[in-house]
């Protein structure tokens, strides 16, 4: 789960990392008030979960409270990469002398936390990695031992920061690691961490991603989820404990297992792409899904008006095909969908499941033997409806 910049920086602050004393505004008048309280120049920054805000015009300097109001009124409501800006962060402007990059992330190949740092911050770290890899310091942390002071020391020494800030940087590395560990973060990034012309250190921008699987033990962070940014269908799916991602194709997919769900999507694209047809969603009903969950999944899929046909592909392992069939029937009765539904049941209790579907004699329901056949039939059905 991604935190917004303002949430990330507030979290950093809790661990002692120096952050600007800005606040969040949802209206331009609020932005005015915050800028007036701060005094002097401020930066008004769109709070949306996408990169490239600056290039999109979502970050602006304002020299006065009035200007802050004006700028905020432009940024609030603008759309950046499909997301509407609903809040802005108003931070005091900083006089930057040097920009540092500092991040801690999960290195999945190594199975360890990885500290990434560079005294040549300010540019995209991936770009820097290509242009000047020697400017990037990397250090893995043994998960059984954790970060020791000397790890921080090794990072800071290798970065080559100004000597007078040496100890302060060592401390920030430790603080960021503590934040990363205690927050169950996948990524805790400060970019840029600046040295101001007044000689102060300041985390000007921050990005934190929390491990979704650890949210159960991070209630404070879990509560920071910004529901306004996600489609209502995804929120509903999460409540029903279904993994659902909305896409922009025409074939609604319901599958058990993430790998097979992706594969099923891929199949609709493989056979439909020539006709501009593809998946309307990713949906994994999980292992051992109940009838209720299957019904909820079907309702969520059918709530998307783009959906022209539905492809249900279940290969029963933990999931029992008869449970799935019952769920389909329940949801069908309720929603009475007009779009064709292609059902392919295979594996545990597949015969029982198919028998249930057949017995219900539902119009518009087509069964298929193989995934290939099912995908082709779904594409055909969608094509007819377009």
């Amino acid at each position: 789960m991604k935190l917004h910049e303002f949430q990330s920086k507030a979290l950093f602050g809790e661990y002692g990392i120096p952050v600007p004393r800005g606040k969040v505004a949802t209206t331009s008048d609020e932005a005015y008030a915050i800028a007036a309280e701060i005094g002097g120049a401020v930066v008004v920054k769109a709070q949306v979960h996408v990169g490239g805000r600056g290039k999109a015009g979502g970050v602006k300097l304002a020299k006065s409270p009035e200007e802050a109001r004006e700028v905020a009124s432009k940024i609030l409501g603008m759309t950046i990469k499909g997301l509407t800006v609903r809040q802005v962060l108003v931070d005091p402007a900083a006089n930057i002398q040097q920009e540092i990059y500092l991040a801690i992330t999960n290195d999945r190949q190594a199975g360890r936390a990885l500290i990434i740092a560079s005294a040549e911050g300010g540019m995209d770290i991936e770009e820097l990695a290509v242009k000047k890899p020697s400017a990037i310091v990397r250090l893995h942390i043994d998960p059984l031992v954790g970060l020791k002071v000397y790890h921080a020391n090794n990072v800071v020494s290798a970065m080559g920061v100004p000597r007078e800030h040496y100890r302060a940087f060592v401390q920030i590395v430790q603080q960021l690691y503590e934040c990363y560990i205690k927050s169950d973060a996948e990524l805790a990034e400060i970019n840029p961490l600046v040295i101001t012309t007044e000689g102060k250190l300041l985390a000007l921008d921050g990005k934190v991603i929390i491990d979704d699987n650890a949210l159960y033990r991070q209630p404070k962070l879990a509560a920071m989820r910004d529901l306004s940014e996600e489609p209502e269908s995804e929120t509903k799916a999460r409540e029903a404990e279904i993994t659902f991602i909305k896409l922009d194709g025409q074939i609604g997919c319901m599958v058990n297992g993430a790998g097979l769900a992706m594969t099923t999507m891929d199949m609709t694209k493989l056979y439909g792409e020539a006709d501009g047809i593809g998946p309307a969603n990713f949906l994994d009903i999980g292992g051992g899904a109940s009838s209720d969950q299957v019904a909820a999944a079907l309702r969520i899929i059918l709530s998307d008006s783009n959906v022209k046909s539905v492809l249900i592909n279940i290969f029963g392992g933990i999931t029992r095909c008869d449970d799935v069939a019952r769920g389909i029937l329940v949801a069908y009765d309720e929603v009475k969908p007009s779009v064709p539904i292609i059902i392919r049941l295979q594996g545990t209790n597949a015969a029982e499941g198919r028998a249930l579907i057949d017995a219900a004699q539902i119009p518009n329901v087509v069964s298929a033997e193989t995934l290939t056949e099912a995908a082709q039939k779904a594409v055909e059905a969608a094509k007819k409806a377009m």
Binding site: I181, Y216, A258, G259
Partner: protein, 286 residues
């Protein structure tokens, strides 16, 4: 031959009195797996389907000589169960559990390696040697004895491919579901190496997906070390970047982890990559 598990392997189930643990323990026994007991703290001395239940893995190992373990406990307890299995002397640990925090798995995997045990998973369907034994949830009906090794990040995709192979009469040595989490105990390379060294395996199927670079590393390994033919499928060609596709590990981040990149690397290593998993039997047959 086959790898990792056979008819003789003595298996315990950690969480045997739980709903999932019990359900799959029964299916494993029905399949012919040598399930010798189970573990549920505080329920030692009870019996489950004729098998003894113990409080601890240590006691179970002492009493039964188990060398293999299936972990089927909730996410909050699974990392602990892995440590316990390692310290109890289990050599092969299969962890089904999904949704374990990555930070816990980083520690658990480091511990397993430190102590020289082997972990399959977590968030995996387990291992199955058709006709002999299975540890996990792979449905027995998808496999038949033969000479194809199958290694996969995904559960149901494995079933799909196993089913397609069996329907064509192309049997398998062993299925190994390594799991879809970012940090796992056993990688593609580990299993490819086992299949390469297994005289009974004549060809290999690799089922990957978007996210991370395990398939890229596998391609490198195949190129340099494999003499047996490998066919593959990579799921997630149609997945949008930056979104986590169900599996915690299935996410294209920046330029890293896309299906295209992985397919290109595998093809460059001489692997035949299918656009549709149901075509894998054709790729192996031709």
């Amino acid at each position: 031959m086959a790898i990792l598990v056979d008819k003789q392997s003595p298996v315990i189930v950690q969480g045997i009195t739980g709903k999932q643990g019990g359900f799959h323990a029964k299916l494993m026994m029905e399949y012919g797996t040598n399930v010798v007991g189970g573990v549920t703290p505080g329920r030692g001395g009870e019996w489950f389907e004729g098998k003894p239940v113990f409080d601890t893995v240590s006691k179970a190992v002492e009493a039964t000589g188990a060398t293999h373990s299936l972990i089927a406990v909730p996410a909050a307890f699974a990392a602990e169960a892995i440590y316990e299995a390692v310290d109890g002397g289990i050599k092969l640990i299969v962890c089904l559990t999904e949704h374990i925090p990555v930070s816990e798995m980083m520690k658990a995997v480091a511990y397993v390696k430190l102590k020289g045990a082997r972990l399959i998973g977590p968030n995996c369907p387990g291992v199955m040697t058709p006709g002999q034994a299975k540890i996990g949830i792979i449905p027995g009906m998808i496999g038949m004895p033969g000479h194809i090794g199958v290694v996969s990040k995904s559960g149901t995709l494995t079933y799909e491919v196993g089913f397609a192979l069996s329907r064509r009469g192309m049997g398998q040595t062993t299925f190994v579901g390594i799991g879809g989490d970012p940090v796992i105990g056993t990688t593609f390379i580990d299993v490819l190496q086992m299949f390469e060294n297994d005289p009974d395996t004549s060809s290999v199927v690799l089922l990957g997906e978007i996210g991370g670079r395990a398939e890229i590393d596998a391609a490198e390994y195949i190129k340099n070390h494999m003499t047996k033919p490998v066919a593959a499928f990579i799921a997630g060609r149609s997945a949008p970047p930056g979104r986590r596709m169900g599996h915690a590990g299935a996410i294209v981040e920046g330029s890293e982890g896309s299906a295209e990149e992985k397919i290109a690397a595998l093809e460059a290593a001489g692997v035949r990559v299918a656009a549709n998993p149901e075509q894998i039997p054709d790729l192996l047959a031709s």
